[in-house]
């Protein structure tokens, strides 16, 4: 099985370990993983700003790079949502691109969904000492139905206990440009998330979207929480040395 790993721009710049961990997980599962070299950005910032022409341009670029593989795997619910749900809608009126967008959408999966629902293989067991709580990111949860898959995977990690926080499905207030444009509202929202995390008292908060995680970690640290770790699920599953 030959698949393309699409590494999001945030992972590339801010936390490359998420990409490396995803790579190791997929290879350990027996996949031939290729990271297409010309990949850049899925176009989500342009799309959510309402700039359709720019978003379409970047969608076409991504489609050209990512089609031709058995699968495309992305360690992010929101970028996967962009490819699966937005690209076909964005290019629906383009007779040349619409079918290509649809074909790519059907073959593109978020990492945990791919591991659990498509690959269905046993991963080499990872270790994690302590309790974690899982934050359900909005786009993955409501756009792609990611809920059960990350939990199934986490429960296989040796030494890990999963403690659900209250309102784990509540938005963390990131929302991409929202947290930059409306920083104070976003802070107010992420504060509630931080309080839920504090209340459950887990050693780490884990999620599938780096945007949310950077937002949560940033607020936890500013509030003075120096100990709660904030980890992408790929990092937990691949072992802590990724």
């Amino acid at each position: 099985m030959r698949l393309a790993l699409y590494v999001t721009c945030l992972v590339d710049l801010i936390r490359p370990s998420v990409g490396m961990a995803s790579l190791r997980l997929l290879e350990a599962a027996g996949c031939e993983v290729i990271v297409p070299e010309s990949q850049t950005c899925c176009g989500q910032p342009a799309w959510s700003a309402g700039n359709r022409p720019l978003a379409a341009e970047l969608a076409k670029k991504a489609i050209s790079e990512l089609e031709g593989y058995d699968y495309v795997v992305i360690p992010s619910g929101s970028c996967t949502d962009q490819v699966r749900n937005v690209y076909p809608q964005l290019l629906a009126d383009d007779p040349l691109w619409a079918p290509r967008a649809q074909q790519l959408a059907a073959r593109t999966f978020e990492l945990t969904t791919f591991l659990v629902d498509i690959l269905k293989v046993e991963l080499p067991p990872a270790d994690f000492a302590g309790s974690v709580t899982y934050h359900d990111s909005c786009k993955g949860l409501r756009g792609l139905g990611i809920k059960r898959q990350p939990r199934e995977l986490l429960l296989k990690v040796r030494g890990l206990s999963l403690d659900e926080m209250a309102d784990c499905e509540e938005c963390c207030g990131f929302g991409g440009a929202f947290s930059v444009k409306f920083g104070d509202i976003s802070t107010q929202i992420v504060d509630r998330k931080c309080e839920s995390i504090a209340k459950v008292g887990a050693a780490a908060v884990v999620g599938g979207d780096l945007g949310c995680l950077i937002n949560i970690e940033g607020r936890l640290r500013r509030r003075g929480d120096e100990t709660t770790r904030v980890l992408h699920i790929a990092e937990v599953l691949a072992g802590e040395e990724s």
Partner: protein, 480 residues
């Protein structure tokens, strides 16, 4: 546009900061949210026990609303015909000013000096209370929440819980001042006692008002009736005691049949307050007939456009399905960080972020369609499946198309997209950015002020890894 002159929606961002700093407001909001969310969840979870399933009911409700909007003129004509046959008068208003003119005219024709009101958001769109007062007619709000904010000289901050932004302490102080009774006559936070006190005051008004003004949750075409859903019974007092009853409602509120109304009622109270059914459901048909013991001698329907007809056949038509349950705002993280007043016009939360620009002009509410994290909790709970984030997104596109976005934002996006189209250059820039971020970080590996996103780092630290970019690491791994 009628609402534009009153809309404060352009000041959303400035208001937001003010609302976040208001500790009393924050306390009120934090108390209210779990109640709304919990009650709705419980009511929806209980649905299968009653033999109905949420998604199936939702589909039925969507179908009813779409059927009406598909032939709105036909259903309105039928409603007019049926309502007239019951003895009611049917009038039409293009905008808020016309609503005020028509209501005042009816009041003058019937020698009205005082009007009791049951909650009507359309009268907020029209600023009807101000117009009535200016015409020498005293409007008295009788929904407890509306009554509170009328005393306080404020506007509703929520479409079903207008005073949700107020704490008990604030209402106690307000009552003590307005009712002229010292606080000591009640124990603190005794809500039943406070309600009783308001009721005693309102009772006099119910009995002395010559006219009652209400909205309508639905208009039923086949019977020419108005359907009114309340929890306090004030709707009945307002519609049966005065000589004249005026219904002010939007043209989109129509449903074809009583059966359709019954279907919608399975989801409206459950979505709004988590109730199986609201305490009072009134179906008001026509005027008092010979032999009837009560009811108005005169019923007037004022059917209002105020921007609604423009949405028919547009990309925003789905918004007209809205049945005003408030579930979208009850589940919105942005709404519950600010309360409704930040949104600057009659309708707050996700539905307001769509309606306000459409009714008051897209250029008069530029922030609202962006005031969403895109989390789609609103779309998930909407009983009539309005794709609220999708409609906000469409409004964002329209802002771009009409050149209404700030130049800096357009330029940054174009620059980003241009760069993303040049992979080799992009890689180089990301590598430089990675080094730059490292350089910005302090000893603990955190960036405390990021010039490019000062609003973000005002509340957060950005953690920076000391490593290289993913693509650098990947290239090194391939070489090894």
């Amino acid at each position: 546009m009628a609402g534009a002159k009153h809309s404060q929606a352009m000041f959303f961002q400035a208001r937001a900061g003010e609302k976040i700093r208001n500790k009393v407001l924050q306390k009120a909001l934090q108390k209210a949210k779990p109640l709304f969310v919990g009650k709705r969840a419980k009511a929806m979870a209980a649905l299968p026990e009653d033999g109905f399933e949420f998604e199936a009911l939702r589909s039925a409700c969507v179908d009813i609303r779409n059927r009406v909007l598909g032939d709105l003129d036909v259903w309105l004509e039928l409603f007019e015909e049926k309502a007239k046959a019951t003895g009611a008068e049917v009038l039409w208003a293009r905008d808020g000013d016309e609503i005020c003119e028509l209501v005042i005219d009816v009041a003058r024709r019937h020698g009205v000096t005082k009007a009791t009101k049951s909650k009507s958001m359309l009268s907020e769109e029209a600023h009807l209370n101000e117009a009535l007062a200016a015409a020498g007619i005293r409007p008295v709000e009788t929904d407890l929440g509306e009554y509170i904010i009328q005393l306080a000289g404020e506007t509703p901050s929520h479409i079903i819980a207008p005073a949700v932004h107020k704490t008990i302490e604030e209402v106690e102080a307000l009552f003590a001042e307005e009712h002229g009774r010292p606080l000591e006559t009640r124990t603190s936070a005794d809500i039943p006692a406070m309600t009783r006190e308001a009721r005693e005051v309102l009772r006099q008004h119910f009995l002395s008002a010559e006219m009652g003004i209400t909205g309508a949750n639905f208009l039923i075409a086949e019977t020419g009736s108005a359907a009114l859903v309340t929890n306090e019974g004030n709707g009945r007092m307002v519609t049966t005691l005065p000589r004249v009853h005026v219904v002010v409602t939007g043209i989109e509120k129509i449903v074809p049949t009583l059966d359709d109304f019954a279907t919608l009622m399975r989801l409206l109270p459950r979505s709004a307050t988590g109730q199986t059914i609201s305490n009072y459901v009134s179906l008001l048909t026509g005027t008092k007939q010979p032999g009837d013991s009560d009811g108005p001698e005169k019923t007037v329907f004022i059917l209002v456009d105020n921007g609604r007809a423009n949405l028919l056949g547009s990309a925003y038509q789905e918004m007209l399905r809205c049945i005003r349950c408030g579930a979208c705002m009850n589940h919105c993280p942005v709404y519950f960080s600010l309360g409704g007043h930040a949104y600057g016009w009659v309708y707050p939360g996700p539905m307001g972020s769509v309606l306000t620009p459409l009714y008051t002009g897209i250029e008069n509410a530029l922030d609202l369609p962006h005031a969403s994290t895109g989390c789609n909790q609103c779309g998930t709970v909407c009983p009539v499946r309005i794709p609220l984030p999708g409609l906000m997104h469409r409004l964002r596109e329209e802002q771009v198309e009409r050149g209404l976005r700030p130049l800096g934002e357009s330029f940054a996006l174009k620059a980003w997209a241009w760069l993303a189209g040049k992979p080799r250059l992009y890689r180089w820039v990301v590598r430089r950015a990675s080094r730059y971020l490292n350089w910005l970080a302090d000893d603990s590996g955190r960036i405390r002020i990021l010039g490019m996103a000062p609003g973000w780092t005002a509340g957060r630290d950005l953690s920076v890894p000391a490593g290289k970019t993913f693509h650098e690491q990947y290239a090194a791994r391939k070489r090894a």
